[in-house]
Amino acid sequence: MRVLLVEDSEELVALLKKGLTQGGFLADAVGTAADADHALSAMRYAAVVLDRGLPDADGLSLLRDLRRRGDSTPVLVLTARDGVSDRVTGLREGADDYLAKPFAMEELIARLQALLRRSDNLLGRQLTFGNVALDTEGRQVSVAGVVRPFPARETAVLEILLRRSGNVAPKRLFEDHLFGLSGDVGSNAVEVYVHRLRKMLADAGATVKVHTVRGVGYLLSEDKTA
């Protein structure tokens, strides 16, 4: 999985390359927007990690050019600014995700993996969290290596939670996925499936728990005591 790292600090590039390699990526690094332009036209990358503060241009102008050319390579923007008035700008310019400096290496890897999963299913079909795994093609759930027969709706709920693992998945997302646009969603329909899933996971001895964030959505967390 080859990604392009556009970052001008050599020290950071060395460290990030090392971290990305450990995370299963191959990283090419360039230090300027011009070099990034060359690299992107010469080769197809799975994703781009783009710093906003480049010596020759704002990273966002590079992103704009990329999108104008119709290139839809997923881009993760890094920024040292993250000011009140900067935060939303990057996403609006066509960035797929946004990470404020300083960040944890694990976070960068996780976000990149999420980006690739979202774009082309380039990364494996296996979603895992704690001792729970889901084969998104075969629709098969396994807990601690044992395959469990979960019904389709509960599996769909679990998939959404796994894709967002560590973050809250909004309730609306479940409604859209489970019931499509047909509407007619009972106000507690999602809650019913979440409740069943919770029980199934507990019965199967899963180390993950589904938390309700009332008014917002659901959150999968690893229960370290279990």
């Binding site: 971290g19 000011g83 008035s85 939303v88 400096k101 290496m105 938390h211 917002v216």
Partner: protein, 460 residues
């Protein structure tokens, strides 16, 4: 001039005084002029009479004079209702002809000179006004006096003068009033750009710095003032921009080394040292971020943006939920479920709510709960299960670097200062009180958005 604060008021007041004075002076002046003209007509007429009368003097063979006045003329001079009177005086001062029954002169002969105008009050009380003209016959100069009783002056001319005064009042007063009204309209029109500029100036608040007063169409007397105000606003905005640039540079300078340290620490072998360093770095990062937020908010301008407070709170709760769950605390979003549009910058409001939630999580014990409530009218309430806030601390808690417990190294007191600053920049307010059940209730009140259809965020 304290009574008349507005230029228009002053102009109208002075104008009313001027109209009053003119409406008295102008008829008086016109009356005087008309009277002069009438008198002139009288004199011309008397002089004409005198010349005509003197034309009737004819030299006689005996060296005397005869006076052949036609009968139709004589009627003018005789009788008690005769308009005019005449007397002819010879060089010796003797009255030779007179229209009067007693044959006396109109004016004492010694007192009059040819060409003189004379006025004499008679015993009957009427006033006789007349002229004396010379007439030379055979080297003897006679004086011809012609006079008129002023109480029987020419009726037509006198009528004009007498009726002039009320008429002139009827005409001039409405005209002057109309002029006054027209002037008020003219001044109102002339001052309209000034009023517009004032309205624009009133819209310049702490949330907007890009507004300038319109300089077009302003009277040249007021333009320098408006220009000076705009120049001051330019300098102010430049100062704000310099502050923003500085904050952005500072963010880069502080975060780049932190990123390198973080990446270096992450590449260390797992162990207690790495975990400790990570925790230290996370605290350091939090403080740096808060300091940068505070610095940016110093020169932050909300602009004309509006934000959905419900969505902002949902985002903030979603972001903080993993932290709460990791500490075995529950968090929920309550209140209304429809969009609540407020005047504000979504990201700034997000940071305010996030800091309130972060503060609530920190002070809520394990197994406690945090509730965020969004209410119509632009109100957010963040309720926690913590110890609450003592009455004496309810103001100081929003100050920078204020800490309830100075022994806890990780709780720098910038979070609530950020909330207070965001509230201030949004012309809103934040307050804290204790819940009946214990625990603190923070209330952030914002201004509801007035209109629909504005851009949800302002580009920097």
């Amino acid at each position: 001039m304290r009574r008349f604060r507005s230029i228009l008021g002053r102009v109208v007041a002075l104008h009313v005084v001027a109209v009053g004075v003119i409406s008295v002076l102008m008829p008086l002046a016109l009356y005087w002029l008309l009277n002069e003209a009438a008198n002139g007509l009288h004199r011309d007429s008397l002089m004409g009479q005198a010349v005509t009368v003197s034309g009737y003097l004819r030299p006689q063979a005996n060296g005397g004079v005869a006076f052949d006045i036609p009968a139709e003329m004589r009627a003018l001079y005789t009788g008690s209702y005769g308009l005019y009177a005449y007397a002819v005086i010879d060089p010796a001062g003797k009255v030779v002809f007179s229209s009067r029954n007693d044959g006396t002169a109109l004016f004492p002969p010694g007192e009059t000179h040819p060409g003189d105008w004379t006025m004499r009050r008679r015993s009957t009380g009427s006033v006789l006004f007349g002229v004396t003209v010379p007439r030379t016959i055979d080297d003897r100069t006679y004086q011809v006096q012609v006079g008129q009783d002023l109480s029987h002056r020419d009726v037509i001319i006198d009528d004009i003068v007498a009726s002039f005064f009320p008429n002139v009042m009827w005409i001039t007063f409405p005209l002057l009033l109309a002029l006054l009204l027209i002037d008020i309209l003219i001044f109102r029109r002339a001052l309209a750009p000034v009023r517009d500029a004032s309205t624009t100036a009133a819209a310049i608040g702490p949330t907007r710095t890009e507004v300038r007063l319109p300089e077009g169409g302003l009277p040249s007397e007021i333009l320098p003032l408006v220009h000076a105000v705009n120049a001051a606003l330019d300098r102010l905005e430049k100062g704000f921009r310099a502050q923003r640039d500085f904050t952005a540079d500072m963010a880069h300078e502080l975060r780049t080394p932190l990123t390198i340290i973080r990446a270096r620490v992450d590449s260390l072998d797992p162990g207690p040292l790495r975990d400790a360093l990570r925790a230290d770095l996370e605290n350091m990062t939090r403080v740096v971020n808060q300091v940068l937020d505070i610095a940016e908010l110093e020169s932050f301008v909300v602009g004309n943006a509006r934000a959905d407070l419900q969505a902002v709170c949902a985002d903030a709760v979603a972001l903080m939920a993993p932290l709460a769950v990791a500490q075995s605390k529950t968090i929920a979003l309550g209140g209304v479920e429809h969009p609540v549009w407020v005047h504000g910058h979504a990201e700034a409001l997000f940071r305010a709510v996030r800091n309130l939630v972060e503060n609530a999580i920190r002070h809520t014990p394990a197994d406690g709960s945090i509730e965020v409530e969004v209410l119509d009218g632009g109100i957010v309430r963040v309720l926690d299960d913590g110890p609450g806030v003592a009455e004496a601390e309810r103001d100081t808690i929003f100050r920078r670097f204020w800490r309830r417990d100075r022994t806890k190294p990780e709780s720098r007191g910038l979070g609530l200062a950020i909330v207070a600053r965001v509230a201030e920049t949004h012309e809103g307010r934040v307050a804290v009180e204790n819940r009946p059940t214990g625990g603190a209730a923070f209330t952030l009140t914002l201004k509801p958005a007035e209109t629909e259809g504005q851009s949800p965020e302002r580009q920097p």
